[in-house]
Symmetry: C2
Amino acid sequence: MVLTVRDHELCALLVKRGEAPFKGYWALPGGFVRPDEGLAEAASRELAEETGLRAQTAPGQVLAGQNPFGAHLEQLATYGHPQRDPRMRVVSVAYLVLAPDLPSPRAGGDASSARWAPVSELFGEDRNDGELLAFDHGQILADGVERARSKIEYSSLATAFCPPEFTVGELRRVYEAVWGVVLDPRNFHRKVTGTPGFLLPSGGTTTRQGGRPAQLFKAGGATVLNPPMLRPEA
Amino acid sequence: MVLTVRDHELCALLVKRGEAPFKGYWALPGGFVRPDEGLAEAASRELAEETGLRAQTAPGQVLAGQNPFGAHLEQLATYGHPQRDPRMRVVSVAYLVLAPDLPSPRAGGDASSARWAPVSELFGEDRNDGELLAFDHGQILADGVERARSKIEYSSLATAFCPPEFTVGELRRVYEAVWGVVLDPRNFHRKVTGTPGFLLPSGGTTTRQGGRPAQLFKAGGATVLNPPMLRPEA
DNA sequence: GGAATAGTGTCTCTAAGACATTATTTG
DNA sequence: CAAATAATGTCTTAGAGACACTATTCC
């Protein structure tokens, strides 16, 4: 499953199923592992086929990786309930991709059958239509969103949602979108710039948000944040 | 894979392979999923068959669960490198079990082919013999140990290593064994007794450690610790 | 008594949260 | 000019770490 932040909202990539079962339902993109490829390799290949995005694990890393584009890919969980597919026993190894805002989804050339769905529309308070995803993909989506929400607390993974260069304000809006909260800009700025290895000044400035020009940063090498960025309580 | 704490050390359950490939090597216990059972169900069944321990996920919980015995079972990760088994393509869904100290391992009736191995002997500084596990089980073990080490930071999962009733000192020794550090008893006591929902006084006291009698506790309902129990840095 | 463990209290310092204030752009 | 965003600074308070000290058992 692919998550991104668009228009200040956390969004998941969905594709419309063209065949039974669950024909016409929205589902998470996926496919089958080839006999001679690894699991992460297969996830990366399917992702490229369906969205054109390149994300792959670093060699030797079993569970997670970061690619040159900044997109992040990691194994989420494996789902194997005997009746999760009405046709036959299917075991799915779900992978989670965190990507910067992408131009537009294109599902194997068929643009009408793919979309970015705000996760707040799929579950939570804003859910107005009770739309259900195919198979157990609602559960997989919920697990992936929770993984993303908790992982940006104690890692620098939120930068995977940002373009190669970004401002502190843009990074803050990522946190706000993923957590669905409002953060104090001043305390946030002090926190992220004060955490060694989180942000690396790239020298430039930008004014694309209006207002005073903001300093541009790249993701620093740090992967673990200590102390963590605490998610505000309910 | 099953982890426990014995003699102030974090230990993993290993079984000796009686057949090729890797005949005579130590390996993590495991087995095959039956056509009509779930993944966690299969892990729970194999565990009971090989050790007599009962651990199962609570119904509806996909990723983790807690059973009446206090043993905890959760999905760890899935390993599917094409050449991880020299015979054929095998995809393994690893489950992690955290259990209190068990009487003695018995592997399907054959006691000589199962043992509790301190993880410090399998990797890390203390590793004196360079013993290797079968297949990629060394990697799986490392991933499981890291999961346990990080998870007791922000959850009450350390109680899964304890008997149903335990003292603050026993819980502290669990943290010390899993992290391989020494903690201040006074600060630890203040921290765990001050975290609401972590510990529930059971009324009794015990003197099994010598010294002044200690109050006995049960695991409280809390699963998430906020603020977390911080692991001391290197 | 001495050794061991349990439990409470006190001090310091880091860092989070709640603000004020100044700086620099666009409209 | 006003409005928006960026960046820095100040105050308060919660909580972690480093201790001293008392309590209660077994030997």
